[in-house]
Symmetry: C2
């Protein structure tokens, strides 16, 4: 087998999903389509403007989402999943599903302890 660390490309995908709000943003845009900055912000209680901006920029830099600016006052900016970004959908869904089961798994484990 090839040397492992060089061979493993999991982290290249991981790097895109990692970020406290990225999975949420992606799942939201995948399901709801195009959204404005303020809509995104409203849908994610607790996120700050700075954080939302940062996460969106990083996703945009990786070509996962698209950003459209409407030159008007007040400003209007829309975000959506790019064609390329859609290729991540199966992975996100698989993780979402696995995560749901794992949450149950941990709860059962917790219950055993307290018996």
């Amino acid at each position: 087998m090839e040397k492992v660390p060089e061979y493993c490309r999991v982290e290249d995908a991981l790097g895109i999903l990692v970020g406290k709000w990225k999975p949420v943003i992606l799942l939201y845009l995948l399901q709801e389509g195009t959204k404005r900055f303020s809509e995104l912000k409203r849908s994610m209680p607790g996120i700050t403007q700075r954080m939302l901006t940062k996460q969106l920029r990083e996703l945009e830099d990786e070509d996962i989402i698209e950003r459209v600016v409407y030159p008007q006052v007040p400003p209007k900016v829309e975000y959506s999943i790019s064609e390329y970004g859609r290729s991540l959908e199966p992975i996100l869904e698989a993780m979402h599903e696995w995560g749901s089961k794992h949450t149950l798994h941990k709860m059962e484990k917790q219950n055993q302890k307290s018996m």
Copy 2:
């Protein structure tokens, strides 16, 4: 749609994969089966003992890997993917594959810039 942040379980799966060496460890154990601590260490140039131990413990705590200690001198400890941990395999492979393609994607993008 339900409130997004509460609904999204992607991070529950993500939390297990995140850690500088976890994907590498998992991919290695998935492909090579059972390995000793020293074998793992040798296969991952750059990792420190402390880090390897930490990542293994965290994966063990999530029931993803199994740890078997042979009470002998010198010590012998073997690690392997658990039955439960195998359920992560499709996700890891999907991410590995996506990551490979994304690496190419970024290279092409880079070339365009320098033209």
